[in-house]
């Protein structure tokens, strides 16, 4: 992953300006933490970077060249963990994970189990608890290597041990040159990170 920059980003929703003149520059290995009160635009910024929402102004550059976040070239370099976990209740954990992995272009052999879901493999998705569902969703971060991680409240519903696992995964990813942008209310800690405070 090459340096990711954004400049002059502006976005409004429902006739209200969420942010404008927003800019950041991230090098490989950087972690950016988005903070701010509810409704300040953290999720919207992440969805913008994943190409779901178009900014009203500004541009995003990868290695100095402007990119369209909704293009499949850009999207195939990122993992996005949103509020919804994208788990099918009628499929077992193994089937859900296999689908996510193959969709992301990862191999099917699962050597590691970073979020300790192997015990749940044969259980159907609808019988998982909120925290277990979150762990299954987070497992797709490591199912296929993609350099940019966009995490929206990744720690919701997780127990202490799982949060530790998530923090270790983020640390390893950044050590390998990946970029992490996360919105969090403090349950997940990043090391030596940059902070972008929204909604001031």
């Amino acid at each position: 992953m090459l340096p990711l920059e954004a400049s002059d980003l502006a976005l409004g929703r429902n006739g209200r300006i969420l942010f404008d003149n927003l800019a950041f520059e991230l090098a490989p290995g950087d972690g950016l933490l988005l903070t701010g009160p509810n409704g300040s635009g953290k999720s919207s910024l992440l969805r913008l970077l994943a190409g779901f929402i178009r900014p009203h102004a500004g541009e995003i550059r990868l290695d100095g060249r402007p990119v369209d976040p909704s293009s499949s070239d850009f999207r195939s370099q990122l993992h996005f963990i949103g509020h919804a976990n994208a788990i099918k209740g009628r499929l077992t954990v193994r089937e859900n994970l296999e689908f996510m992995t193959r969709l992301a272009g990862g191999g099917t052999g699962h050597a590691t189990d970073p979020f300790a879901i192997a015990d749940l493999f044969e259980r159907q998705g609808r019988f998982l608890s909120a925290g277990q569902r979150r762990r299954l969703a987070l497992s797709r971060l490591l199912s296929a290597p993609r350099p940019l991680w966009l995490l929206d409240e990744p720690g919701v519903g997780l127990d202490r041990a799982s949060i530790d696992r998530l923090q270790r995964a983020i640390r390893d990813h950044r050590a390998a040159g990946g970029i992490v942008i996360a919105a969090s209310h403090g349950d997940v800690a990043l090391e030596q990170h940059l902070v972008l405070e929204l909604g001031r």
């Binding site: 190409g51 779901f52 929402i53 993992h79 788990i87 099918k88 009628r90 689908f99 969709l103 992301a104």
Partner: protein, 233 residues
């Protein structure tokens, strides 16, 4: 660069197959939902001999029209499960981010939807032709007309259900939006069957049904994908 494209292409193929497999598996797991359309079709059709009387002339005269109208409604009934659950649980975002073009996602989802709705109607239709005492020619004409027409119903319906995703009265509005667009399929579907039964030659309506299917296959994925992008904003 070529190497990268080749790898992306293989990933896309892999992802497309994975999606098709997942959707077929889901359709089997919730067989009740999948069979809803065809069961509605059978039950409501069996009301007609009771309602208009078992006179073979009357049934034969209205048979092809009634079967087609009920086929439209049966497909309509199953449309809201095309994209709604995927939008609600976040799977649609996952699909959008997979690098697989949304248009391909739409084609796959429509194909699976047709396998679990239109194809079943095609398979039971000879039985219904007998139930409505249609002449022997209907035994091939009706399934063939449905085979050509029902994919169009799925594809056009897919546009409607994508456009109204997330609106509160979704399924009612989908019906109002989509049913008028089904009228050409109804007209040519009925005239194909009637033409074959009456020996008037049904080549032209069959060809028109096929042409409508091709046009829908070419255009609906783009329109649907645009609707899905809007729904994810």
């Amino acid at each position: 660069m070529n190497e990268v494209n080749r790898v992306n292409g293989m990933n896309g193929m892999n992802g497309a197959l994975a999606l098709a497999r997942r959707d077929i598996r889901l359709a089997f797991r919730s067989a009740g939902d999948s069979l809803l359309g065809v069961i509605f079709f059978l039950v409501s059709l069996s009301l007609f001999p009771l309602g208009v009387g078992a006179s073979a002339d009357v049934l034969a005269r209205i048979g092809s029209g009634v079967i087609w109208v009920l086929a439209l409604l049966a497909v309509l009934l199953t449309l809201d499960r095309l994209y709604e659950s995927d939008l609600d649980d976040g799977s649609l975002e996952l699909l959008a981010l997979s690098g697989l073009p949304l248009e391909i996602v739409v084609v796959i989802k429509c194909a699976v939807h047709w396998l679990t709705s239109g194809l079943l109607l095609v398979l039971v239709s000879p039985l219904l032709a007998i139930l409505m005492s249609l002449p022997a020619d209907a035994l091939w004409a009706l399934p063939l007309a449905l085979l050509l027409g029902t994919p169009t119903l799925t594809l056009v319906g897919s546009i409607g259900s994508a456009l109204l995703l997330g609106s509160r009265q979704g399924s009612v509005l989908t019906a109002l939006l989509v049913l008028p667009l089904y009228i050409p399929v109804l007209i040519f579907g009925v005239s194909a069957v009637d033409g074959a039964i009456l020996g008037l030659g049904a080549k032209a309506p069959f060809l028109i049904l096929a042409a409508m299917q091709l046009a829908a296959l070419a255009l609906a994925p783009f329109a649907t994908a645009a609707g899905l992008r809007l729904a994810m904003e």
